[in-house]
């Protein structure tokens, strides 16, 4: 009677993944939002895995204005372009990305404490 059993009763949709991948323009793969501690109380938020279809420079520009913080785009040989924002912007950035329809909620993965 627990949620456990309820969970098992859920119908499994074998095409759930297919639906996710089909729509164009929205990116695939996970977007990792991380936080890093700097000196003192300062922190840094990084967003890794945004689709290269988007112009990250424009995103960062909008974010900077929206959250009133500084930010850059960093090129990384392995992870591609990564957004960096000053301060703990994890919630802000998640809301922003979903609201703008760049990333879906389930594609966001927030790391850190």
């Amino acid at each position: 009677m627990t949620r456990m059993s309820i969970q098992n009763l859920n119908t499994f949709d074998p095409f759930a993944d297919a639906v996710k991948g089909s729509d164009e323009g929205v990116q695939d793969g996970l977007v990792h939002v991380r936080i890093q501690q700097r000196n003192g109380r300062k922190t840094l938020t990084t967003v890794q895995g945004l689709s290269s279809e988007y112009d990250l420079r424009k995103i960062v520009k909008a974010c900077k204005k929206e959250f009133a913080c500084n930010g850059t785009v960093v090129e990384h040989p392995e992870y591609g372009e990564v957004l960096q924002m000053q301060g703990d912007q994890r919630e802000n950035i998640c809301q922003f990305l979903t609201k703008m329809g760049l990333v879906k909620q389930e594609q966001l993965k927030v790391h850190g404490f």
Binding site: M1, M4, I35, Q36, Q37, N39, L44, T46, H111, G112
Partner: protein, 336 residues
């Protein structure tokens, strides 16, 4: 009522205590002057309950997605977190019975007449009646926290009260069984045959809280790291890797078997990460049992469940992109 519930959320703990005190009082009152208390209660009850369900449902639906997530995490109950524990305890004890009276109202829509009858009947039993009232109050408390569970319980138990009084409703009539009745019957049988399930409802996975102490200004010590690894039956290496990746720092295990992490962290934060670790790498993804074995097979980690036998791969730990936070000059010197 709706407003009340809204206010309810933030100040939950306080209210809870108040209610608890009230409950005790109520119980005492019942014990002493059963009939007197009883007289007043039936009058209040019907109106009370109808409102209760109406707004309760509305509120629940709004909050459900959140609470489900939160609830998932909350499963992993850290011991000694006094408040939380209290909450859970209260819940566990009353989980079953607590759900029952409420379901009366859930089923209300379908058979209102029935309900009234039942209430009238229960008037005869002073104690019974009052208890159900009490539980309703408790139920409300739980709403925010264990919304989902109780909601589910409520749904499944709709109409249980009939069967719970030990004989099926349909014995003395030839009418067809309703779906709800059959469902409850099945669950009752399941409970009967598996007493464990009833006792624990869901076995709680109780963890020791991590002991996190600051060392100086820049480092944090996680004192019972090895102990927790042992409790989780996971290799230190694995948990260490996960912790450091999530926190985005460096760290190591020192001679006293404590983990030293660079950066300032609080117990709450570490707890949070442990919860995530447990959810991903300890509990079985199918049955949620914590009795699992994590084994490495061709570079992939697999989680094998001891209870249900399922086996699934789990995500590998990647620390991902790490921005430069230290002194760049120092790094340059290191590379050169």
């Amino acid at each position: 009522m709706a407003e009340e519930e809204m206010i309810f959320d933030p100040a939950m703990k306080k209210k809870k205590k108040k209610k608890k005190a009230f409950d005790v009082d109520a119980a005492l009152a019942e014990a002493e002057g059963g009939p007197r208390a009883n007289e007043s209660t039936p009058v209040v009850e019907p109106s009370n309950t109808s409102i209760d369900t109406a707004d309760g449902d509305g509120g629940e639906e709004v909050t459900q997605p959140e609470t489900s997530i939160k609830d998932d995490l909350d499963d992993l109950d850290f011991e000694k977190l006094g408040k939380k524990k209290k909450k859970k305890k209260a819940f566990n004890l009353d989980e079953l019975e607590g759900a029952l009276p409420d379901t009366k109202e859930v089923g209300d829509d379908q058979n209102e007449g029935d309900d009234i009858m039942k209430e009238a009947k229960s008037d005869n039993f002073d104690l019974d009646m009052d208890f159900s009232l009490e539980k309703k109050k408790k139920k409300k408390k739980k709403k925010d926290l264990d919304d989902l569970i109780s909601d589910d319980l409520g749904r499944d138990d709709a109409g249980t009260d009939a069967t719970d009084s030990s004989k099926p409703v349909w014995t003395d009539s030839d009418r067809d069984y309703t779906y709800d009745e059959l469902l409850t019957r099945v669950f009752d049988i399941m409970r009967e045959k598996n007493p464990d399930m009833v006792a624990g409802e869901k076995k709680r996975f109780v963890m020791k809280p991590p002991q996190v102490v600051r060392i100086g200004t820049k480092k944090t010590s996680f004192a019972n790291f090895t102990e927790i690894c042992k409790m989780l039956h996971r290799q230190q290496k694995h948990l260490l890797q996960f912790l450091l990746a999530e926190l985005g720092t460096q760290g190591s295990v020192d001679g006293n078997n404590q983990l030293i992490i660079k950066g300032r962290f609080q117990q709450k934060q570490i707890e949070n990460i442990l919860r995530r670790y447990i959810k991903e790498y300890v509990t079985c993804h199918t049955c949620r049992s914590p009795e699992t074995i994590l084994s490495k097979d061709t570079r992939l980690f697999f989680l094998q469940c001891e209870t249900c036998g399922s086996r699934c791969s789990v995500a590998s730990i990647k620390s991902g992109y790490q921005a430069v936070t230290g002194k760049r000059a120092a790094q340059r010197a290191k590379n050169a």
